[in-house]
């Protein structure tokens, strides 16, 4: 349904609330370059077909596309914003709105604050330094993570227990190295 900007924001808020426990909210934004029917006749027949198939209302200007774009590169386009809850069958909610170029600022402020408020279940990043260089692990600084200490007889009774500890320690070291590598890349 095409709504006004305010209605869209309100319904979007409802959509976010309704989908809190399960499901998703899908938002799509694109530049709105649909021209009224007059210019579609200028394109070739082949272009009109392609236009219909694209399904987003931007068809029909393929023929003059290059010329039009060159002239109007600095023109501001309205923005089409769609939201849905992706549910199948009858109960799918689909809303959309068109934002005119002069409304961009005000809308993006309201839209931004709505998003910030609703995307609340993202994990806050913990700043604890839980990692230490694997080589400096044992003993190291106060922030070093403690690896499993391998103790026990190397042969005879109790050797299996020692081997288990050894395996566990190797796994931990591998994890630390991978994590360190991943963080170095980020």
């Amino acid at each position: 349904m095409l709504l006004s900007n305010q209605d869209f924001l309100k319904q979007l808020q409802d959509l976010f609330d309704a989908r809190k426990s399960s499901g998703s909210v899908f938002l799509t934004e694109k530049r709105f370059t649909y021209e009224p029917a007059a210019s579609t006749t200028a394109g070739a027949a082949g272009d009109v077909e392609m236009g219909e198939a694209s399904g987003s209302g931007t068809g029909g200007e393929e023929g003059e596309g290059a010329a039009v774009k060159a002239e109007e590169e600095h023109k501001e386009y309205p923005c089409l914003l769609r939201a849905t809850d992706g549910k199948g069958k009858q109960s799918k909610v689909k809303i959309s709105t068109l934002i005119q170029p002069n409304d961009h600022e005000t809308f993006s402020l309201a839209y931004g604050s709505l998003l910030k408020a609703s995307l609340s279940s993202l994990r806050k990043k913990k700043k604890t330094k839980r990692k230490a260089a694997p080589s400096a692990a044992v003993g190291g600084s106060t922030f070093a993570v403690q690896l499993t200490k391998v103790v026990g007889p190397r042969r005879g009774a109790g050797v299996e227990k020692r081997r288990k500890l050894l395996r566990r320690r190797e796994k931990e070291v591998k994890k630390l190295v991978a994590r360190k590598k991943r963080d170095a890349e980020r």
């Binding site: 426990s21 899908f26 934004e29 993202l122 994990r123």
Partner: protein, 70 residues
């Protein structure tokens, strides 16, 4: 579909896509609250780039990206 690991790369790639074909490029967002998952997709129907996160760190950057694309 390419998932980007780093935000900066994703942002510059999406800007490049938009520059190249502003008519066809669209920007899609998927949000799953119970999973705390945010997925961003920028596509011009020929190439598609995505970014996925569970971390709140990206909220501000995501908002900036929204503004710049509008």
């Amino acid at each position: 579909m390419v998932y980007y690991k780093r935000w900066e790369e994703f942002a510059s790639a999406s800007a490049a896509l938009y520059e190249a074909s502003p008519v066809k490029t669209r920007y899609c967002v998927r949000w799953r609250h119970e999973a705390g998952l945010l997925v961003l997709k920028v596509t011009d129907d020929r190439t598609c780039i995505k970014f996925k996160t569970r971390s709140a760190v990206f909220l501000n950057r995501f908002e900036l990206l929204n503004r710049s694309l509008l």
